[in-house]
């Protein structure tokens, strides 16, 4: 081992000395057997474990040598001793082998490192390649997906279905053989087909337009021709008028009415139609005509947003109001103007003419002018005494015609400052509810529609009430005039209600106001019961006999004779007695007020009032003649007993017999 080591060392030395490559090469070029020493080869050849062992051995030997030297030195050997020197030389040799081993180790390490490095490099390169490829793959995938998602515009077009296409398209387009298999080609073919169809249709459209224009022109021509005929027809119509009259077929008249009627607001139109129908079907004495300015009505109807809605010209007036707003910018009279515009009436109005048979030879007729929801004027030829303002009050219960029936008007009125509609009633007329109903208007209603059936259902009853009202009023007025002359007329049918001899007389009959009525002391109970309202008529009657004076305050409801007049009594005879405190006067009130069915006479019961007054006189007679036994007073009685009575006092309240029995002619208790 040692010799090997020496050899190796020597070789080393040789190598290291020769620095120049030429030299070495020169030497190397097969001159002599120079040992080419390659460390690398040596490295490959040596075994690291062997080297390690070698190293350990060498160290051991060195340690041994050192020990020996030390021993020798310790034993007193001199410096330079041959043994020591020999040992020293040997240890140097050992040192050199150690060095060699060290170097080998280093070289081995270096080589290992180099190899690792190389390997790493290779791995890096591969890794990089991998990354590149992955990136490329990803890119490709993205591209693919983009391609797949691509929506071509052609998909938005609704194409004809494939079967239809195959059937309809001409073969050069459809190319079935190719397209059957290739969907791409199929789609292309279909698109082609679509394009062609569209072109064709566009052409057709152009053609149709042109033909339409042609036809239009021909229509114009024909229209002109027809309108040229109109004057001729008119002439014929005029000529035929006398013929119509002769045949009593007022064809022309009804045509004219229908023509004008078109311009009526819907509610008036309904009223016209229904009234006409009713008049023709049931009531010959009812006739309807339209009066007013047709042109103005036409003008109103012109603007397109003019409402065809319901209600008294308010909605029309609103339109007017807007127009006038533009014309009059001054704010001063604007509120007044607004108000006026709002309450403006529709220019057309209906005149309902109702003929009622009177008791005399002449017939009375009632004309009711209805102007768009309001009753404008009432004219009755015959009696001027009829108070036209209140004649139709309370035709139906509580229908006073002072308030507008449309709740929406409240807001409209507030806007223009109309607080009380009643103030305008004089010019506008009474918006009675029955008029609204006849015009098919019903408030409150959700849809402002005009309803035919509403009008029809009320027509008959309203007409009957109107006629009844006029007749009863006429009868009343006749009665009033005779009562004012202190005559109580009793018709022959009612003679049986009263005895032949009646001594009490009606001495006065006057009309009084509501205020005066409520101020009378003996009418408190009637006012408190709510039976004396402002719409009622009030009268004061005085019945006298001898020193006795009976005052009767009468409340007459406008719906007379449906509702009986109410009498309240006060007697002044030997002191004041009123109906409330005197049981017998109360009984007389009861006799007169409660027994309407007896007193109203033959239908329609107009004689109720006069019969009531007559009965009042009879009862006063009985009251005075059956006055209690006053034995203390001497002398003749003021009113001798002339009426036949069974019993003069009955019951705990000692009522007198006020019931007259016919024909026996005696009085009894009820």
């Amino acid at each position: 081992a040692m010799s090997d080591a020496l050899k190796k060392r020597k070789s080393k030395v040789v190598r290291s000395e020769t620095g120049t490559p030429e030299g070495k090469r020169g030497r190397g070029d097969g001159e002599q057997e120079v040992r080419v020493y390659s460390e690398e080869v040596e490295l490959d050849g040596s075994d690291p474990a062997e080297d390690y062992r070698q190293y350990k051995l060498t160290c051991k030997a060195l340690a041994k040598l050192m020990n020996e030297i030390q021993e020798l030195k310790a034993n007193g050997a001199k410096d330079g001793c041959a043994e020591v020197e020999q040992k020293r030389m040997q240890s140097c040799i050992h040192f050199m082998s150690l060095k060699k081993l060290n170097r080998l180790a280093h070289m081995r390490l270096k080589r290992g490192r180099d190899q690792t490095h190389e390997g790493k490099q290779r791995v890096d390169v591969l890794h990089l390649q991998l990354q590149n490829l992955l990136y490329e793959v990803m890119h490709m995938q993205k591209e693919i997906s983009k391609c797949l998602e691509f929506k071509s515009k052609h998909e938005e077009i609704d194409l004809v279905s494939i079967d239809e296409f195959n059937k309809e398209a001409p073969p050069e387009i459809s190319r079935i053989s190719i397209t059957k298999d290739d969907p791409h080609q199929l789609t292309l073919a279909r698109l082609d087909w679509e394009l062609e169809q569209r072109k064709r249709l566009a052409e057709k459209y152009k053609e149709s337009l042109s033909s339409k224009e042609k036809i239009q022109k021909s229509i114009e021509v024909k229209k002109e021709h027809l309108s040229s005929l109109q004057p001729g027809l008119n002439a014929i119509m005029q000529a035929s008028l006398p013929v119509q009259e002769y045949l009593s077929m007022p064809f022309e008249q009804t045509q004219k009415q229908i023509e004008i009627a078109r311009h009526l607001p819907p509610s008036l139109y309904v009223l016209l139609v229904q009234a006409n129908a009713y008049g023709q079907a049931c009531d010959k004495s009812l006739s309807v005509s339209i009066s007013g300015d047709v042109d103005e009505a036409k003008a109103l109807a012109k603007p397109p947003d003019d409402s065809q809605d319901d209600d008294s010209g308010d909605s029309d007036a609103e339109e007017e109001q807007e127009k006038t707003k533009r014309r009059r910018p001054t704010t001063g009279g604007q509120l007044d103007d607004k108000r006026r515009e709002m309450l403006k009436r529709h220019p057309l109005s209906l005149c309902l003419d109702l003929k009622c048979k009177g008791t005399h030879t002449h017939t009375h007729s009632l004309s009711v002018t209805a102007g768009c929801g309001c009753v404008v004027t009432i004219v009755s030829c015959g009696r001027e005494l009829l108070n036209s303002d209140t004649l139709l009050n309370c035709l139906y219960a509580n229908d006073q015609g002072r308030e507008t029936p449309n709740p929406a008007n409240r807001y409209q009125f507030d806007k223009v400052g109309i607080s009380v509609f009643g103030d305008y009633v004089a010019e506008l007329g009474h918006p009675y509810q029955w008029v609204q109903r006849l015009g098919g208007l019903q408030f409150p209603s959700e849809t402002p529609e005009v309803c035919d059936s509403l009008s029809a259902s009320h027509m008959e009853s309203t007409m009957k009430l109107l006629r009844g009202r006029v007749q009863s009023r006429l009868a009343l007025h006749k009665q009033f005039s005779s009562l004012e002359h202190s005559i109580v007329p009793v018709s022959s049918e009612c003679q049986h209600l009263f005895p032949t001899k009646v001594l009490s007389r009606l001495s006065r009959w006057t009309a009084i106001t509501h205020h005066e009525y409520t101020n009378l002391s003996f009418t408190r109970h009637v006012s408190d019961a709510g039976l004396a309202r402002e719409t009622d008529l009030f009268f004061l009657a005085v019945v006298e006999r001898g020193t006795a004076r009976l005052q009767a305050a009468v409340v007459l409801n406008p719906r007379y004779p449906e509702i009986s007049p109410l009498f309240a009594l006060s007697l002044s005879w030997k002191g004041e007695r009123a109906g409330r405190s005197d049981d017998n006067l109360r009984a007389i009130e009861s006799e007169v007020n409660v027994f309407k069915s007896e007193l109203q006479g033959p239908r329609p019961g107009h004689q109720l009032l006069t019969n009531q007054v007559a009965r009042l006189c009879v009862c006063l007679d009985v009251y005075l003649e059956t006055d209690g036994q006053d034995d203390s007073v001497e002398g003749p009685r003021e009113f001798p007993r002339e009426k036949m009575c069974l019993r003069t006092a009955r019951g705990p309240n000692r009522l007198k017999p006020f019931k007259y029995n016919h024909p026996q002619g005696f009085f009894s208790h009820r």
Binding site: A529, L531, S564, D583, R586, N593, A649, G651, N653
Partner: protein
């Protein structure tokens, strides 16, 4: 006529004799008719349980009011209206009387009976029987003769009828004019009657004869000739008797048959009653008079009707112990406390 009905009659054997008829129900509703202005209440009667009041008016109607609902703390206007109104007679219902189970009404010559149980359930089933001439009032007869009805008639006689059999047992004759009112002295078994002829007669039930006859108008203290002599109001408390009408209301001691006090009430009294130690009286005048036995008028409590015809005290019930008065109005005043009007029931 005046009727007296004694306490319970157990079965109506006399049903078969007379017609049964159903009268129709008429709801007065809450509308105020003209008839209400001219209505007068003539009679009242409380139900045996004390919870209901029946009142009769001049139109022949009877209204049944529920006192328990009108007096309850949560009473409304509707509880002051009758629970039932029906037409009982053709003429005014002058007299009403309750037995233990039935309500008897009289008017215009007929007497009808109505079952309280049915009336409360608003069923009207009339068991009526006709009599002659008009009827004014009912009263009851003492246990001496059970189940009898004493009727004072317009034919100037008093009839006693047996309620079970329906036959008239006896007639008491003596009055010369029709009879206004009847009363009964239970202890002695006597009937008192007052009439238009001004006489108060005392009858013995058993013998049927008039024991006494007092002509009130002949006593100077009581007489008021300016009004007349009729006796319209009569009531007794066994020892004492109250009578009035044309003559002033006066208190009589029956044993001595003399007037002890005369009450200074103007107007003719139509009904009076003894209550505790007071005398309550109603008549002409818009008030209820409270008088003391000594003759003073202690108080006059105002009420709604201008003159009163009937006064009734509900002694059948302890929790509804009220005084009710009715007269020339459609309203009946109810006094829970005697000294002021609580509220009014109205037809």
């Amino acid at each position: 006529m005046t009727l007296l009905v004694s306490c319970p009659f157990h079965c109506f054997k006399w049903l078969h004799c007379f017609n049964n008829s159903y009268t129709f129900l008429k709801f007065s509703g809450t509308v105020f008719f003209v008839q209400h202005l001219h209505m007068s209440v003539f009679s009242q009667s409380f139900s045996p349980c004390g919870r209901f009041l029946a009142a009769g008016n001049n139109y022949g109607e009877i209204a049944v009011f529920s006192l328990s609902s009108a007096l309850s703390p949560d009473a409304t206007d509707l509880s002051q209206k009758p629970i039932l109104t029906f037409t009982a007679h053709e003429g005014p219902v002058f007299s009403l009387l309750s037995t233990d189970s039935h309500l008897l009404s009289a008017g215009n010559g007929e007497v009808s009976a109505w079952s309280w149980a049915e009336l409360i359930k608003r069923v009207i089933h009339n068991l009526h029987f006709s009599l002659f001439s008009f009827v004014f009032s009912f009263i009851s007869i003492p246990p001496l003769q059970e189940n009898s009805l004493v009727i004072g008639g317009g034919d100037n006689n008093i009839h006693i009828m047996d309620l079970e059999s329906g036959i008239f047992k006896s007639v008491l004759q003596g009055h010369t004019d029709y009879i206004h009112c009847l009363s009964v002295r239970e202890r002695e078994g006597e009937i008192l009657s007052g009439g238009e002829d001004g006489a108060v007669r005392i009858w013995d039930c058993r013998t049927g004869h008039s024991v006494h006859c007092i002509e009130v108008f002949k006593y100077e203290d009581c007489a008021r000739p300016q009004y007349g002599k009729w006796i319209s109001c009569l009531t007794t408390d066994s020892d004492w008797m109250l009578c009035g009408g044309g003559p002033s209301l006066s208190l009589w001691h029956l044993r001595s048959m003399s007037p002890t006090s005369v009450f200074p009430l103007s107007g003719c009294q139509r009904q009076a009653t003894f209550y505790q130690d007071m005398i309550l009286s109603v008549g002409e005048g818009q008030f209820v008079s409270h008088c003391l036995m000594g003759g003073e008028v202690k108080a006059q409590i105002p009420c709604t009707p201008h003159s009163l015809n009937t006064l009734a005290l509900n002694l059948n019930s302890t929790e509804h112990r009220v005084l009710t008065v009715g007269g020339s109005s459609h309203q009946i005043d109810v006094f829970a406390n005697l000294y002021y009007r609580s509220f009014s029931l109205s037809f």
